[in-house]
Amino acid sequence: MTEFRSPDQEFQGFRRRVVVAMLFILACFALLGGRFYYLQVERHEYFHTRAEDNRIALLPVVPNRGTIVDRNGVLLARNYAAYTLEINPSRVRKLDETIDALAEFIDIQPRDRRRFRKILEESRNFESVPIRTRLSDEEVARFVAQRFRFPGVEVQARLFRDYPLGGTGSHMIGYIGRINQRDQQRIEERGESANYRGSDYIGKAGLELSYERELHGTTGFEQVEVNAGGRAVRLLAREPATPGNDLELTLDIELQKVAEAAFGERRGALVAIDPNDGGVLALVSVPTFDPNLFVDGISTQDWQALNDSPDHPLLNRAIYSAYPPGSTFKPFMALAGLESGKRSIEQRMPDPGFFIYGGHRFMDHRARGTVNMHESIVVSSNTYYYQLANDLGIDGIAGFMRQFGFGSRTGIDVPGEAEGVLPSPEWKRSRFRTPEQQRWYGGETISVGIGQGYNAYTPLQLAHALATLANGGKVFRPHLVRHVVDSRSGERRLIEPEPLRQIPFKARHVEAVRKAMVDVNKSGTGARAFAGAPYEVGGKTGTAQVFSLRGQRYVEGKVAERLRDHSVYIAFAPAHNPSIAMAVLVENGGFGSQSAAPIARQVLDYHLLGRKPGQPAGEDEEAEESQ
């Protein structure tokens, strides 16, 4: 601020300021240099990692899901490639407008839009969501020509699951569906998140669910270099996916078809097991449903139609519904009598046509004077079993029946099996609350003896028990999968060929029961259904009471259809070396001989003779010779 400075003084002042400025500049640059040193040397490792993380992305390579074939190699579940139109919601701002614009040249139905919304809501991440699946080649071409207008919309080649036989065996095969948040949680709990990166589908029901681990395969990875926009620009390394393993079933899908067709419009279930290894030959629950509806998310209408139907098509009656076995329980009771020593094979018992217990008269259809064990099965005497039940006592019955697996899950390899009820005083205590309800009455034992009362078993349990009886006491775990075929080595892993345990029945006793069951179909209650059959078959009819008439006589025509008795039938064949043991149940089908036995006949005709219903008899002879 010197008002009067000489030019020289002023120049000196200026020089000082230049020096100060230069020092300040050097200080600032030193600061920058220090900052560079800090970033580039001190923290180099950190930033190097960050840059690599930026640059390299791991993209999952989704494995192809394993296929499912029946015992003869018929495809039950397969994959096919198709184009889908997918929208990446994070890259498309106005979803509705974009979909409207797409709909101008690609067929997008309201149904597609609803499904898109649903998937979008359930979506677990911000990956692309399909708006249309199974595009035609023409639609793909049309979209490609317009692609530039639609950033964030892409056509993808994807593998789809397809169940070529539709409803046939749908309860057992099951289906896959899109992974929802609940599935995602389960995946995380099992620690399989890495293997499901990129997977859109997971098994939801049936074999698709229970063999999910085999079918899914191992996800591969591509290490790619990505740019800031997330686009892959270069492939760095690749770890290919391992496809899922294929399943070869014990099931004979043709047998399954015959069985399902034999039911016609009726509701019911049929389980056929090979007594030699526990392999399930047919597992029928009718009505069925089309599993293909579920793959891409079932529409609300389809779901309501299935869910609200009085026939409950989604219910797997074969393994989840428990029914009283009715008289089909008698062969097992008879064996219990023989094994316990309470009865001998030839011992004749009085049969006045009723049995009195505790002042109550338990009725039979007719009086026969006396019957032995054989006759009691052939003519289905009730009185014989009332007495036997009384002699064995409830604990004796329950203890014996437990060996056959009655009242406990068989452990079959499809999910959703019910336990059923094997009645016993313990069961009553755990089932009911008040002491009055919990008390076991002797009269209840009498009803249990003829397969009524609290007895309730799944058709699977019944078939399983029969298979055990038919093979002389070898208990196998029923299973649908015979081999798991390793996708890499082609090695075929056998599932459960070994029996779980052997029940030590006396062969003589088992033989006597089996012989009586064979005569059921020769001269007894199954004779009509099996008239003219060129093979020997052991069987037993049964009628499961739906509605207690409290002593009134049951007249079929007078009872509403849904309250009619269930028709039950069990059979094994050929009698001397059984290759099939089955249980048939027709809901509200009346007597066992009426509805269930004819179905069993058709199934056995196909299984043993290769004859389909309605086929000319000419083929019979051939088949017979090969027997």
């Binding site: 030019p7 920058l32 840059a51 740019n227």
Partner: protein, 380 residues
Amino acid sequence: MTEQRFHPFNLVRAFVRPIDPVLLAIMAVLLGASYLLMLSASPERAQTQLVNSGVALCAMWAAARLPPQRLLSLAVPLYLLGVVLLIGVALFGETSKGAQRWLDIGVTRIQPSELMKIAMPLMLAWYFQQREGMAGLRDFIVAGVLLAVPVALIVTQPDLGTSLLVAAAGLYVIFFAGLSWKLIIPVVLVGVLGLGSIVVFGDQLCQPGVDWYGLREYQKQRVCTLLDPTRDPLGKGFHIIQSTIAIGSGGLLGKGWLEGTQTHLAFIPERHTDFIFSVLAEEFGLLGALVLLGVYILLLARGFQIALYAPSLATRLLASAITAIFFTYAFVNMGMVSGILPVVGVPLPFISYGGTALVTLCLGVGILMSIHRHRVSSTD
């Protein structure tokens, strides 16, 4: 002289005479580096940058040919033209990217604020020249007003980067003209305290809803993002985070020319303009960054040397202010790219892509050359 007039060699000499070989060499290095980095950061622009460099060198040569007195005689007209144009921008300017910076003058669009970067120091240097030997407090106040008017106009565009540079240019002239330390030190102290308090109380100040008097929301965001880039890693912090990753991952020797992954996979935003330094630091490492710092120091040292030998007060002030401006460009740009200064739109001098800024900078170098040619010890 007369007999040599038509000698061809004489023509060459006349052409070469205004050029200072030292500054020219430094220019060659910087413009060469710019071309190399452009080939990596944005190859499709490298060609254009070469043309820009040629045009800028012509401007430099033209400015170098002008004697300092002629230049100073242009100070008032240029300054007034600049202010008028800035007012024009405020009234009729074109808006692009949220700021009104451009003026359409029929033939082309111009950015008058760029003109002020030269006109401002020229005007103030001229002003102090008029008061030679008796610059009083009043003169500093007048200078302050001359400075404040255009800066205010540029701030309202809004263009924080340019207004900062224009303001700095003027302040440097005032500083070198001898503004009392008694005034400078308190101002610097207040500034340091202010910045310090922003750093310390950043979290509270950056809460949404807190209004920073005099700054736009986006300017506030820039400061806040600098204080804590992770506050918005995908949005405003992305630039700083990605450029520091680029610099840090370069390491000691860099990843090699054309090998920078941050650069080539487009993680560095604005990598051909304001963030080109992170390309250099990624591909050439600490070594490249320090070499660049060294070249800038040479440039600044040469600039101050020229100022010390300048023939008059005005040329002295002009030369030193221009030199200090080069420093400001370099420091603010590298400081922002490496994350120690807020992101303000200041290019890396002589290297960032862009013709206008390059021409302005090279005009500055040309003025330095002209002053050098008329230095006191010169017997020319």
